[in-house]
């Protein structure tokens, strides 16, 4: 983030620390998802359990940043771009923590599953997970570059995640209808795909926060709820 320096040097140091905190949590969360997906791919229970435990590290970082943000708000009474950055950081911090929870959920479920999972949906879930992971990397990069344009690109990417989610959802429903013995395994996968869908939403929220911090303008999701539009027809089927 290239801006003129504050007259008070320690204010700059504090803002820099907030930035570094966000980057730390961002990369922890990205890695958390990466390892959760790897555990799923290899049905590696040991790794899944380790990932589950490591959620504490993210929570700890979240609390630390939360404290730093309250302190800087009280101490500096920020204005304009500083105010927007700190306000956005408060929201980003919470969203990153929740993002970490969803990655952890995938690991938790992987650790519990003792069933053979159907290959095709797992493959698709892994691909979707990689896409979310790429989004996390890009959204963090847009924060580093303090770029509203880059944030908007990531924001748009959530549409693809939603499409993937709906595709896998239909696929899993078909699997379950075809063979009720698959219901247990597929239910677990359903939860995972929902976790990834929510993770995508959180990345989108973070992109909105960055966009606002940089430009001062809000970025809203307009139009119909795409998930609801896609599943609504199912409701009327007898």
């Amino acid at each position: 983030m290239e801006q003129d320096k504050h007259i008070v040097k320690s204010y700059d140091d504090e803002m820099k620390e907030i930035n570094n905190n966000i980057l730390d949590i961002g990369s922890l969360v990205e890695n958390q998802l990466k390892r959760a997906l790897s555990a799923l791919k290899n049905q590696d229970t040991a790794l899944a359990e380790k990932v589950t435990e490591d959620d504490n590290i993210i929570d700890e970082k979240f609390r630390e940043l939360d404290q730093n943000l309250v302190h800087i708000l009280g101490k500096r009474q920020p204005m304009a771009t500083d105010l927007r950055t700190i306000f956005s950081a408060i929201k980003m911090n919470k969203d990153l923590e929740r993002l970490g929870d969803h990655a952890t959920n995938i690991a938790k479920r992987t650790a519990m599953i003792e069933l053979v999972l159907p290959e095709k949906p797992v493959r698709d879930i892994l691909r979707m997970g990689e896409h979310v992971q790429i989004m996390i990397g890009k959204v963090i990069q847009s924060f580093v570059n303090f770029s509203a344009e880059e944030a908007k690109v990531v924001w748009k990417m959530d549409e693809e995640i939603d499409d993937e989610y709906l595709g896998i959802l239909r696929q899993l429903l078909t699997y379950m209808m075809e063979d009720p013995k698959r219901i247990s395994a597929c239910t677990n996968l359903l939860y995972m795909v929902k976790d990834l869908e929510r993770a995508g939403d959180y990345v989108q929220n973070i992109a909105e926060d960055i966009y606002y911090a940089v430009s001062g303008e809000p970025l809203y999701n307009e139009g119909p709820d795409r998930e609801w539009e896609a599943i609504k027809p199912l409701k009327n089927k007898k």
Binding site: D4, H6, I7, Y11, M79, A80, T81, G216
Partner: protein, 253 residues
């Protein structure tokens, strides 16, 4: 949006050969608080003093351009400055009560402007002005003690009561809280909030937080120029000009 009460166009102020204000054009809305911010020497107080022709008191000071109050030009030799100033009250940085009693401080304006005929009317004005300034409760049993016996915050509210007593439309405040502690400051800010329902207020302040708290519109001055003006909320969250941004975030001063 409220009506425009004071409108300035291309106002230039010179102190001798030095130009202190450059083509300042600004509309001040009725019954709103307009805050003027900017680094020391940027011209914000000079601008404030143009509105009640206080700069006339400085020999080397020359003001040109146009300033209207209620659509009437005030930069003209034909303007009755005394009557103009009765419409425009002023409160200064340091509380400056007259060396008189609390009562006489407030009664002074209405008396010299001939606003009242009877003693009862005068008492009524003094009481209502002290009440509007949020001071009556604290001083009602000691109205004949000297104004200077009050605390700093009370003295400042006494000065506000004195300004209100002549029934002005506009109140100019030049850093009214800079000599006060945070509690007295909060009391004055609460008072400003109430006063804006009846008066048009222009406040010069060095505290950005105060400008953000009390005003609806803010103007940022720098080196004698009005750099940016707009809704206070917009100025403090998303100013358009880089200089404004730099100043309010503490990146230059």
């Amino acid at each position: 949006m409220n009506n425009v009460k004071v409108s300035t166009k291309n106002v230039n102020v010179h102190y001798g050969t030095k130009q202190a204000l450059h083509r300042v054009t600004l509309d001040i809305n009725e019954k709103e608080v307009t805050a003027l911010i900017g680094p020391s020497g940027c011209g914000k107080s000079t601008f404030l003093r143009c509105i009640n022709r206080m700069n006339d008191l400085i020999d080397i000071c020359k003001v040109d351009g146009s300033i209207t109050v209620d659509n009437e030009e005030i930069i003209s030799d034909e303007v009755d400055v005394v009557s103009l100033r009765s419409k425009i009250g002023m409160v200064f940085q340091k509380p400056n009560p007259f060396p008189k009693s609390i009562f006489d401080n407030v009664a002074y304006g209405p008396t010299i402007h001939g606003i009242v005929d009877t003693k009862t009317d005068l008492e009524e004005i003094v009481h209502s002005s002290l009440k509007k300034a949020g001071l009556l409760k604290e001083v009602k049993d000691r109205l004949h003690e000297p104004g200077t016996s009050l605390s700093g915050g009370q003295q400042q509210r006494l000065c506000i009561a004195r300004a209100i007593a002549v029934n002005p439309d506009i109140i100019l405040m030049d850093e009214p809280c800079s000599a006060l502690d945070p509690i007295a400051t909060a009391t004055i800010e609460e008072l400003i909030d109430e006063l804006k329902t009846k008066y048009t207020i222009v406040i010069v302040t060095h505290s950005m937080q105060q400008a953000a708290r009390v005003s609806q519109r803010t103007g940022f001055f720098h080196l004698g120029e009005l750099v940016e003006t707009g809704e206070t909320q917009k100025i403090f969250t998303n100013p358009e000009n880089e200089k404004t941004q730099g100043y309010i975030t503490g990146r230059f001063g």
